[in-house]
C-alpha cells in the first residue's frame, strides 16, 4: 500500500535526502514543507499518513508545530515522528513526553529510514 508522508524540516539537505529515501526505497509519496507554518498548511491540505517533523526550526519549532497539529481536529490524529540531532537522553525524553509516535535520530540511514518508520507505525 502506498503511503503519503509529510516531511517538515528547514534544512534543505535533510529534507531532500529524506524525501529521496522514502520515494526511492519505499515508493511512498512525499510532500515537503520548510517550516512549521507551511507544515501545518500542507498537513491540513494533504492529510498525510504520517509526518516527519524536525525539532529545531526557526520560528515555529517542532514541538510547537506538533501541538498545533494536535489542536486542529483535521490533523489531530496524524501520527507524528520527531526528527532530531539532539542525542542526549534528557532531550529525547522531553520530546517523547510530548506524545509523538517516536523520536528518530539524525543522521538517519537513507536506506533504512522507511523501514524504521514502518516499524514505529506498525505498518509492517
Amino acid at each position: 500500500m502506498s503511503r503519503r508522508i509529510l516531511i517538515i524540516d528547514d534544512e534543505d539537505d535533510i529534507r531532500q535526502v529524506a524525501a529521496l529515501s522514502l520515494e526511492t526505497v519505499a515508493g511512498w509519496d512525499v510532500i515537503v514543507a520548510n517550516c512549521g507554518a507551511q507544515g501545518l498548511e500542507r498537513a491540513a491540505e494533504h492529510l498525510p499518513d504520517a509526518i516527519l517533523l524536525d525539532v529545531m526550526m526557526p520560528g515555529m519549532d517542532g514541538p510547537t508545530t506538533f501541538r498545533e497539529l494536535r489542536k486542529n481536529p483535521v490533523t489531530a490524529k496524524i501520527p507524528v515522528m520527531l526528527l532530531t540531532a539532539k542525542v542526549q537522553g534528557p532531550d529525547q525524553r522531553r520530546f517523547a513526553d510530548l506524545g509523538v509516535e517516536a523520536v528518530l535520530l539524525k543522521p538517519f540511514d537513507p536506506l533504512t529510514l522507511a523501514s524504521q518508520m514502518e516499524k514505529v507505525l506498525g505498518w509492517t
Binding site: 500500500m1 502506498s2 534544512e11 534543505d12 539537505d13 535533510i14 531532500q16 535526502v17 529521496l20 529515501s21 526511492t24 526505497v25 519505499a26 515508493g27 511512498w28 529545531m56 532530531t84 540531532a85 542525542v87 539524525k106 543522521p107 538517519f108 540511514d109 537513507p110 536506506l111 533504512t112 522507511a114 523501514s115 518508520m117 514502518e118 505498518w123
Partner: protein, 109 residues
Amino acid sequence: MTSAAPTQPQPMAAALARMWAKFLPEIDARLKILEESAGANPLSAEQQTAAHSAAHKLAGSLGMFGLHRGTELARQTELALAETPVAATQADLADWAAELRALIQAPNQ
C-alpha cells in the same frame, strides 16, 4: 511498492552521490564557520552561537552521506560549543575542524 526493505542500494547510492555534490557548498560553508571559530581569539558570543548551530547541522547531516566519523566530530564540537566557556581548547577545535575538512574533501577514502 509496499515494502520499505532497502532493495535498491545502487540507485540510492547514485542519488546520494548527486545530493552530496549538490549540498557540498552548504556543508563547506558550515565547516568554514567552525574553522573561523577555532581561529578566533577571543571567540565572540555571536561566533560561538553560529559555530554551535553549524556543528549541530553538520552532526545531523554528514552521517546520511556515510560520513559517520564526520558526525562524531561535529557532535563533539557542538557539545563543546554548547558550554560557556567553551569546553575544549582552541587547538582541539582546530584539530576537529581539520579532520572534518579532510573527510569532506575525500568522502570515499
